[in-house]
Assembly symmetry: none
Homo-oligomer: 398 residues x 2
């Protein structure tokens, strides 16, 4: 990546990265075709023989990527070198304002009896109940620190601590097993002592505030972290980047690496409209389509097929903008048959006037892309390829 | 590479590496075929289904390689770990004798007025004019140091300083912008102080010697460097290597890694004749064909096609020598449509009795090689493959 930075130069080209979250799949046992191969994607299929195709490992062969590392890879970062704490991902996912000096942490509501945790998930209380309890916790006042608590799903929540001299190297209070008492949180370095003290005091306050709750009468904390200090894509590659995503976490990840987040976008159609609206203002556009992943997570093969077809419908509107480099891929695989993220490589298509043509391929799918001219590579090389095809990288050595 | 060295063993096999400079290309918009795919290459095509094919990244995906790093990769070195200074490449390109303790540097003739550089290129003086001025500079005498100045093209030249205790960590005198005074050259470490002092004194002498020139009345210096200390291919792999190239820079690069340079070769035909003449004397032969690159740089698709066809004509003469391992590839891509080096991977063909057969392939070209059994890999692994197919590498571990 140091090399990329030293070679990067500016020009007037436009690069578009369309990410279908969890795009990669596994074959339906009857047809042998994956979700993507089953979907009717005439627009993408038309591009394929005049594009370079391949497949990417989000991290490395066999490694299943979470959304954080998977996207960092797509943006050109080595996901193994830039770890984002769970607390930070949760906070980003809730659209919480997370400054560079803030510390974020995950919260589980739990049930405690006689000083021991008897249910680490408080019977998976409803999300509305969680929201009500978060409001109570947000009312906790501590000197010199601003506390924001927001509900995730069921018993899960996130908290952001803002104040001077806070560091995130703090152990969890979650004992990971029922029948044990919550742990006292410990600083892992001297700088983090203040954060650990505040966290322990916060748990005491929370215990007091929740003491009359029938189920969720305690909290467990884990995954303390600050936003990682990451060089921005503009510092690294000299690009002005825009992120267009309907889900907060992806907007948050893009913001982390210095992209400008386009706001007020709620549907895929609005995403493409937003792309057109700001096309003159940026060099690089990250467009995120969420529902390929959610349908995969739900194990709904047919719905994932439909979502892919909906995305395919929008391809002509993107091409009308005449981007110099257009990439379609996923951040990782989410096969419906596995109901979750998987380690399988994701297909990738790169369309540019500077690209070779995979004339022997006929449609966009895992099997076809596995025979494409880009070969199989790690996602973190995609940014270099996009910059190269945009002719934004100088020659290395004479 | 450390592993390779520890596994390398000697035998009587012969390995031939035929490099068509800048071989990789991009499709003609009408036919969808690259220069190589357009060329009629019956001899190479006949080899393909009885060879292993693939494609190589000279450095990494998306990175465009200069000739120096690209060739180091082919010879088994990591181009990112062995950087060759511009001064050294220039000196090698001019066939200057560059010993391990010499320091080389590039010179620009420039125009100075009132102590400021008003033209960093001295109006791009003709090369003959440059040659005349280089002779003047070669006459400069300084105690304890031998100075050789040789003309490149137009305003460009190279200088080699030979003497005791010279080191190349010296800043440039070129201010990079017109309207500024030349910079005093500074040592970047204590060992390089003597070189910096000599260089500054040399510029003063040059200024005096050129003071009556109407245009080129000053020099700017940049890219100080020594030959990198590189272990030779004979030390690393136990091979006796010969380099056959018509262009000085490639001979120089080969010399850098300890190859014996065959002299007096001016054409492709003479290269193949030279190969036959010295075939008994070496284990490894690097043959360099230059004009695929130059025609690509000129943007001349058709001429590049012809050059490739000329090289194909010579394949039978090479095969007649019955090399145990025969590799045909490029150092990087130089598509005519881009008129310069590019990042696209280069096709590679490996023919050996120990090689698998890519029976499903029918001709030598980018698209076919992308589907070959060697897959896509970095050039720096090619040397290991050649040694392996020559059965010159012992087993790793029991």
């Amino acid at each position: 990546m140091d090399i990329l930075s030293s070679l990067a130069r500016k020009n007037d080209t436009k690069m578009v990265l369309l990410v279908m979250d969890g795009l990669g799949g596994l074959p339906c046992k009857e047809t042998g075709l994956t979700e993507l191969e089953t979907a009717k994607t005439p627009n993408l299929d038309r591009l394929v023989p005049k594009s370079s195709c391949g497949q990417m490992h989000p991290i490395a062969p066999g490694i299943t990527a979470g959304s954080g590392p998977a996207h960092l890879g797509l943006f050109g970062y080595d996901p193994l070198q830039h770890n984002i704490g769970r607390g930070v991902l949760s906070a980003l996912g809730l659209d919480l304002d997370l400054g560079p000096d803030d510390v974020a942490c995950r919260i589980n509501f739990a049930t405690m009896r006689d000083g021991k945790i008897v249910d680490r998930r408080a019977g998976r209380i409803p999300t509305e109940e969680c929201a009500r309890l978060c409001k109570i916790l947000s009312g906790i006042k501590m000197e010199g620190v601003e506390i924001t608590v927001a509900p995730e799903m069921q018993h899960r929540a996130a908290v952001v601590f803002r104040g001077e001299g806070l560091w995130g190297a703090v152990t969890d209070s979650d004992p990971q097993k029922e029948g044990l008492a919550p742990l006292t949180m410990q600083p892992l370095n001297p700088e983090s002592k203040r954060m650990a003290d505040i966290a322990n005091a916060f748990v005491e306050e929370a215990k007091r505030a929740l003491k009359d709750e029938p189920v969720a009468n305690m909290i467990l904390m884990r995954g303390f972290d600050k936003s990682p200090a990451i060089a921005t894509v503009s510092e690294l590659y000299g690009i002005r980047a825009a992120a267009i995503a309907t889900y907060p976490m992806y907007r948050g990840l893009a913001k982390l690496v210095g992209m400008n987040v386009v706001t007020g976008v709620k549907t895929l159609d609005e995403e493409i409209k937003a792309l057109a609206d700001c096309f003159a203002d940026y060099d690089y556009f990250f467009i995120h389509a969420k529902y390929t992943d959610s349908s995969g997570e739900d194990g709904d093969f047919d719905r994932k097929v439909s979502v892919i077809e909906e995305v395919d419908d929008l391809i002509p509107s993107i091409l009308d903008l005449r981007p110099d480099v257009f990439v379609v891929t996923g951040d990782h695989s989410t096969p419906a048959s596995l109901k979750g993220h998987s380690w399988h490589p994701v297909p990738v298509l790169l369309h540019a006037t500077t690209a070779r043509w995979d004339t022997w391929l006929t449609s966009f799918g895992e099997g076809q892309c596995a025979r494409g001219s880009l070969g199989t590579f790690e996602s973190r090389h995609l940014m270099a390829l996009m910059l190269a095809h945009a002719q934004r990288l100088a020659k290395y050595g004479a």
